[in-house]
Amino acid sequence: MRRKKTRVIAKEICAIVLLIAMFVGSLYNTHYLDRVVQDILSSVHTSEVYAKENKKDKAIEELSEAIRIWKESSDYIYIILGQNYIDPTTDVLYDLLGDLYAKEYEGTLGSYEKVREQLKGLVELEQFSLASLF
């Protein structure tokens, strides 16, 4: 009888532990996504600085690094966010790369802004706020 009661309580404790573990996991996910996005944003920023200085090759190189980071982490990001959020981000990154090849710095300003907003949007999706909750 006592063993049965202990087993019942153990089930509830397992449920609480699982809930806490999921919260911890979700916090790690947010942290991971934030870190990846910061790394990409940093490369995008450096690329923009080079583009401003008319160092096109270096700007393309930095943006390619940003794309590499994004592609490396996209498998994990798929688990957190899904394909619906990965494709638009990949698109804006490649659009910017295309603009860098084809246009002068002024012509790429809008694309840089688009990439930044898209990446910030991804982090905001996972960040806890009343707006995201409701």
Binding site: K11, I16, L19, S26, L27, I80, Q83
Partner: protein, 224 residues
């Protein structure tokens, strides 16, 4: 993911509260927390199945969250009668000592037609024969008839009724239940002997064979 977990908890609590306010009639033999889980689970599981672009985690995380909520809530209800009363309410006495409690009927939005229908499902056609009718927290109506209307029991008539004890199914659709054979303390050799008595060559020819503690066997051969 944090958002998914928190949203699931909010929706769980939201439906729980609305069901609690709607009253016991909506429940249909499930406790309120069980019904909330039943309502949500089917829908949660189907979305990631239909949309390949949606990660499976979007279905699994809320599912696990619901499981945790249900276990925690049922645990709280088991250990705290106050919490149970708060979450599932208390049984409502619709008929007390033969009198219909109109206030409770109104509170539970139970019409006379519905009460009569519930009584009819229990074989009661005359409401005046009911001493107590209780609307349980899971939405069922339990009744207690006046002693003069209750069926007579063997004990009241002082009749000795043979007790058949537990009945175990030994062969079901051609398959032997070795566990039940052990429970009834019988061997396979005994079973084969019983089959031979009934002109059956093997258990495959038997649809049902059961045995009670008085040693009585029910036998049904399989139709070809």
């Amino acid at each position: 993911m944090t958002i998914i977990i928190l949203r699931t908890i909010i929706i769980f609590l939201g439906i729980l509260t609305s069901m609690r306010i709607m009253g016991k009639r909506q429940l249909g033999e499930l406790e309120i927390n069980e019904l909330v889980v039943a309502v949500l689970v089917a829908d949660l599981a189907s979305h990631p199945l239909q949309d390949v672009g949606m990660p499976l985690m979007n279905g699994l995380v809320p599912l696990a969250t619901l499981l945790c909520c249900e276990l925690i809530f049922s645990g709280i209800m088991m250990h705290s009668p106050t919490a149970k009363k708060l979450l599932t309410g208390k049984p409502s006495i619709l008929i007390s000592n033969g009198a219909i409690n109109q206030l409770e009927m109104r509170k539970n939005r139970f019409t006379l037609d519905e009460l009569a229908e519930e009584l009819r499902t229990q074989g009661i056609t005359d409401i005046s024969k009911v001493k107590y009718a209780i609307l349980e927290t899971d939405g069922r109506v339990n009744t207690l008839l006046y002693p003069s209307e209750q069926p007579v029991t063997a004990g009241q008539l002082n009749i000795q009724v043979p007790d058949p004890g537990y009945t175990a199914i030994l062969i079901s659709d051609g398959k032997i239940s070795h566990e039940n054979l052990r429970v009834m303390d019988k061997s396979e050799a005994w079973l084969m002997k019983e089959l031979k008595k009934r002109n059956a060559k093997s258990p495959k020819e038997v649809y049902l064979l059961s045995l009670n503690h008085r040693g009585e066997i029910y036998y049904a051969a399989k139709e070809n």
